[in-house]
Amino acid sequence: MLGVLKSMATTMKHALDGNTFTVEYPEEEPEVSPRFRGVHKFSQERCIWCRQCEKVCPNDTIQIVTDDQRNGEQYNLHIGQCIYCRLCEEVCPVDAIILTQNFEFVADTKDEFAYNMEELKNVPWYKDIDPLESREPDRGAWIGEGEGEVDYQ
């Protein structure tokens, strides 16, 4: 009987101490770690079209199309198929593909998750955290880079 009372006292303590652990999402945005892996962002200024990300991707989420001069034409990434392992970012020699902290994305059909290069470039930063700065501080951050007119080739 004593054990039952002790058990009830424990639940009672938690019921009365008034502490809540949960946050009221979406009114309150959760804290996301700087290393968190969310939707990808692509930088055409940086990409050298070496196709290493395409090669390393474990489930063929990335498709790259280049012309016969090896100039990049398309960069497609299906963010609904992606397993968010961050290997593409890890092998990229120029940090052209980066996983932002952005975890909020919805679509009506799964096809809308097949992002092309423009959509990938327009993925917003999450709370203005630059993932590169927090993950690899010795490499240059690229938040804010490429805004305005840029000559791509």
Binding site: K6, S33, Y84
Partner: protein, 561 residues
Amino acid sequence: MSLEEPRPPTESDVGVTAEGDLDYDELADLLGDHVVDREQHVNAEGFVIRPDEVEAVLSTLRDEAGFDHCSCVTAQEYQDRYESIYHLKKYDDPTQELSVVVPTPRDNPVSQSGAGVFDTAEWHEREAYDLVGVEYEDHPDLRRILLPETWQGHPLSLDYNQDQPQIVPLREHANPMEKRTKVPDDPDTMFVNIGPHHPATHGVLHVKTTLDGEQIADIDPDIGYLHRCEEQMCQQGTYRHQIMPYPDRWDYISAGLLNEWAYARAAEDLADIDVPEYAQVIRTMSAEFSRIAAHLLAVATFALDIYGDFTAIFMYGIRDREVIQNILEDLTGQRLMFNYFRLGGVAWDLPEPREEFFEQIRDFLDEWPERLEEYHNLLTSNELFQLRVVDTGVLPPEEAKSYGATGPVARGSGIDYDLRRDDPYGYYDELEWDVITDDGCDNFSRAVVRLKEMEQSARIIEQCVDLLEDWPEDEREIQSNVPRTLRPDPDKEIYRAVEGAKGELGIYIRSDGTDKPARFKIRSPCFCNLQTLPVMAEGEYVPDMIAALGSLDIVLGEVDR
């Protein structure tokens, strides 16, 4: 060190030298003419035997040489033959390993079953039959286990056509209830399907139950609803990068780092990769966090099964797990699918600022004894809980060994078996901690073992944090130099296991000289532990069967792979 010394070899064990190593020549002498050939695997020697002498060889090895643990059965197809490998070990000293290799011709892949010697071989052989296509003679119940009964072909065999559509004719669905509800020759029994869509089965597990009154007369777990071809996916990935994200998805209850370690250990030993000490400490620490998180969910859902109360203990468990997940998120960048280990180390050093990260861990550790005390108050010292679980779901140690049970299930049956101590890897042998066992053999002792193991894991984490805090700054090497493309030498075979959250998680890899494994086999602890369910549940009431299932702590993602 508080770790116990391995038991000195007794006279009953043939083939053990005075130093406790295996003497393969003596073992070969013991088997005499049964041994046709001998192979060298990375972890152990392999004795090649004739396919019609499997039972004789296995029972000799078990009874006279002391190999009482059939860890895994791997089947594979070569260009010229099929092959089943029985990976034998000893519960007393798992470093003493022996592979029994049974080749069978391609045109007639029939091999004698080992299920008469080791009960655990029953399911393993069914899986081998299902996926690879080896047939086992004298097997008590040789039918498909992971794939549906109507499946055509064996997906891991070489000539399997992956594009062939699987057509199920209508007659297979004629009246699915007709056969199922009828129990022959016994009008007093009733057939009940438990699952596959029921929260108490912890996933998509289907338990075919025959009830006699309220008691269970016969029980047959039906698995395979969550089969995702994990072995095949690993066979299609490169060693260096592409396999590592997938172990997280076998046992997806935040035990990801422990699973990753299983692959990392097997592949590192296969390719002779060293891991820096600093990385080993980080691995040990983060893996123990994973273990706490996994055990917390196990205990929380067990309490949910017992009390049926969603708001108290289950939510407390989830809340504490949240703290761990936050720590792991800061470290690995993800909350469940970590992909943090790399061959030869880990992906990242500890997050900056380090002091803040350590403080976060210390806060958790400071709070932890109090939280554990609460779980003990709510569960183990509560008479209502005791009434429900003491002396129900009894699993005697002999049965547990025969079924290849490991992890908290085995330790709850008094089997002193923990690979972290018995087959040390990582940094475990440098740290002070105890292996928890309990002789109760019932649902209660399995829950107690998990609760106490969390305490030990916290001890390990504390020591790791102490080490990491004082680690000299210029020796923080997180990855050794590993070539970008790994091509282990052809025809190297290895079977390596680590202590996962649910038990012995083993990986068998055979290399063929390319950058992808030729055969990748996962020995899932849940798969073996689940086999013990009939032992625990038959003769019990249905609620006690649910309790036994909860105390087994299965994750269907790992059972079905």
